[in-house]
């Protein structure tokens, strides 16, 4: 598996702008209900231990992607970009929650991220026509070309 260079996606110098005030973490919903790393912790770990340590930790996925941390940061650090870059890198190393892996496979195979039984009947109940099929082949070709297979088999 290839790894992405996360500093291409997030300006590394921005890490030093963090003064560890924990305003982000204080607002983080994931921190309140799960053993998450949290935004302040993620930044500190990147600085002290290097991002390799962080992307190998499963806890990196304990996040709502709510972007509240970035909103509250007095230093305006683009924390959401950092969290996206870290998890992209994690996924390439095989650190990806199984539910999420399954969801991505479904998307690549059907062009949609959801599936239900008796869809036509359900839609008819609400007076709606059947949903036209998604452009599966085109979607799959695009995803192959962008390199999604670095992360999941499609």
């Amino acid at each position: 598996m290839t790894t992405i260079k996360i500093w291409k996606h997030f300006p590394r110098e921005d890490l030093y702008e963090c003064y560890q005030c924990a305003r982000c973490t204080g607002s983080c919903p994931a921190m309140q209900v799960a053993p998450a790393i949290g935004p302040r912790g993620a930044i500190l770990k990147c600085l002290n231990l290097g991002h390799d340590e962080v992307v190998e930790d499963e806890k990196i996925w304990l996040c709502c992607t709510c972007n509240v941390c970035e909103d509250r940061c007095p230093q305006k650090i683009p924390i959401s970009d950092l969290l996206v870059a870290l998890r992209n890198s994690a996924a390439r190393r095989g650190n990806i929650p199984s539910r999420l892996g399954v969801a991505i496979e479904l998307l690549a195979k059907t062009g949609r991220s959801m599936i239900v039984h008796q869809l036509d009947e359900m839609r008819a109940h609400h007076g709606l026509a059947p949903l036209p099929p998604a452009p599966v082949e085109e979607v799959r070709k695009i995803l192959k070309k962008t390199g999604l297979e670095e992360v999941v088999e499609i």
Binding site: A85, S113, M114, L131, P135
Partner: protein, 297 residues
């Protein structure tokens, strides 16, 4: 007024009632909707986290379809609007990213130009001309104490979603749903953590119980304000409150449940549509009694 309707996945597949309500409401308000062969947006909470380049290219394809039809893109889901607005902005700003994406889309005869805007049903309904029409078409009030839940991805990060609305602190807090619903007789009611996460992405990706723990906290604040109903603009938030209350009740023996409505369902009721027509009959937490108590069948 005409838009390309971006249904996304959750609404047409899991909650077609929202689609039905939206189509009926838009028809009444003179908003024309055009269907195009879109794919999944794809979500900021799944594909973007796993593979950024795939996320951007697939979003670009969806944007291209609307561009080719010469229409702005109307979304019904916070995830869809987040992805498509951000991708549109990124591709308009970065020549390099645009070139890269166009090279991938070339073989499918798409070429991102940057000629359209992406919007959400809440912003479309909030336009002056639409509000005027809504007031004219309104046949009844919906006098309920409603907690408006905006979700996160509809407006965060604000520098991407609402750059022109930023405060001095470079932040932004949405108000449109509260304002719009007050027009149809709703009493919008504040509650703690109104602008924080519903819990859905944490549950979907990593830890269902933790996701519902967030929902539970939020519901406690909603109960505290004697709110009678929740209004949402995102199918994931909806599921978290509607299904979530069933799941949480099993664990906590909580009896009081608060019905959740998708925005266009409430607007539809005010325009005289029946609860069946706007799809309320399939919600897990039933609203029949509550609506009857204010004279709505």
């Amino acid at each position: 007024m005409k838009y390309a309707l971006f249904l996304g996945c959750a609404i047409p597949i899991k909650y077609p009632g929202f689609e039905a309500a939206t189509r009926l409401v838009c028809d009444r308000l003179g908003i024309e909707l055009v269907d195009l062969p879109f794919s999944c947006c794809p979500p900021p909470t799944s594909m973007k986290l796993v593979h950024y380049d795939s996320w951007l290219a697939l979003a670009a394809r969806n944007l291209c379809l609307a561009e080719e039809a010469g229409l702005d893109l109307l979304t019904l889901c916070s995830g869809c609007v987040n992805t498509l607005k951000e991708a549109n902005l990124i591709l308009k700003q970065s020549e390099a990213k645009k070139r890269k994406v166009n090279k991938i889309l070339e073989e499918h005869h798409h070429h991102f130009k940057g000629t359209i805007e992406v919007t959400h049903i809440l912003d479309v309904l909030y336009q002056d001309t639409v509000v005027d029409k809504m007031i004219k078409e309104q046949v009844r009030e919906v006098p309920l104490r409603v907690g408006c839940h905006y979700g996160c991805h509809y407006f965060r990060p604000p520098k991407v979603m609402y750059p022109e609305e930023l405060s001095a602190a470079e932040s932004y807090v949405p108000v449109k749903m509260d304002h719009l619903l007050s027009i149809i007789g709703v009493e919008p009611t504040e509650f703690s953590r109104k602008f924080l996460c519903c819990g859905s992405p944490l549950g979907a990706n990593a830890d269902q119980d933790a996701g519902y723990a967030i929902t539970k906290q939020k519901l406690a604040y909603i109960h505290e304000r004697n709110i009678q109903a929740i209004s949402v603009i995102c199918p994931s938030c909806f599921e978290q409150f509607d299904m979530g209350q069933i799941v949480l009740a099993r664990k906590n023996k909580e009896k009081e449940k608060i019905p959740t409505f998708y925005l266009t369902q409430l607007v539809g009721l005010a325009l005289g549509l029946t609860s069946k027509e706007v799809g309320l009959d399939v919600h897990r937490v039933k609203s029949k009694k509550l609506l009857e108590s204010v004279g709505i069948a």
